[in-house]
Amino acid sequence: MQLFEVTTDPLDVTRTAAVVSHSGDGAVATFVGLVRDHNAERRVLWIDYEAYVPLARKAFERIGAETAERWPAARLAIHHRTGRIEIGEASVVIAAASVHRSDAFAACRYAIERVKQIAPVWKHEHFEGGETWIEGAAADADDEAARQLAFERACS
């Protein structure tokens, strides 16, 4: 697998971690985003993920560059799945490897916050009794305040 991918295949955190880690690393921090069975009082059945694939890949590369700027020793992989994803399955997997754990944890946390802010990925939630698009913020990759918020979360 490449460092930054959008795929319809099931994700595997071990495989994502293997993409970034090498013998000089003392730590790999991973994040696995799952489809859960409830949201806002609704019983969720499954979620369809839709992406603008080429831009999503570029967004991940951009997040990788931002991470490298702040934590030069860390290397990042982001793998996002699209299509119908069942309860308990992973929709996104992030791995950050570094010499020391502090950089690995921070880079990983920063990356998932940025994915949520700017990646062109949309969730169509299917729940008992209906369906709805889950919408957050307008994607603005140049919004410095959002980027700063992601840094603060990563370093808190």
């Binding site: 839709e50 570029k58 919408e135 957050g136 913020a137 994607a139 603005d140 990759a141």
Partner: protein, 86 residues
Amino acid sequence: MFVTIRLFARLREIAGAGDLRRELPAGATAHTAWESLAREFPALTAHERSVSCAVNEDYARFSTPLHDGDEIAFLPPVSGGGFACR
């Protein structure tokens, strides 16, 4: 000039298609494309303030000028995942 317009998620459902080819006047910007689309599909109008855009697979602004053959994508708000409420 002719451009390809890509729509996603809720916007795609409103227009009934995710991939449209439309003619725009010379000097058109991303905003011109949006306005022309909103005339065609008035239900899009309500989403204007929350939509962002990309030109040729890169983040862009509504003021970005378009050229013949460009691909302009309109992006509804992204998933967010509880970012605002922590």
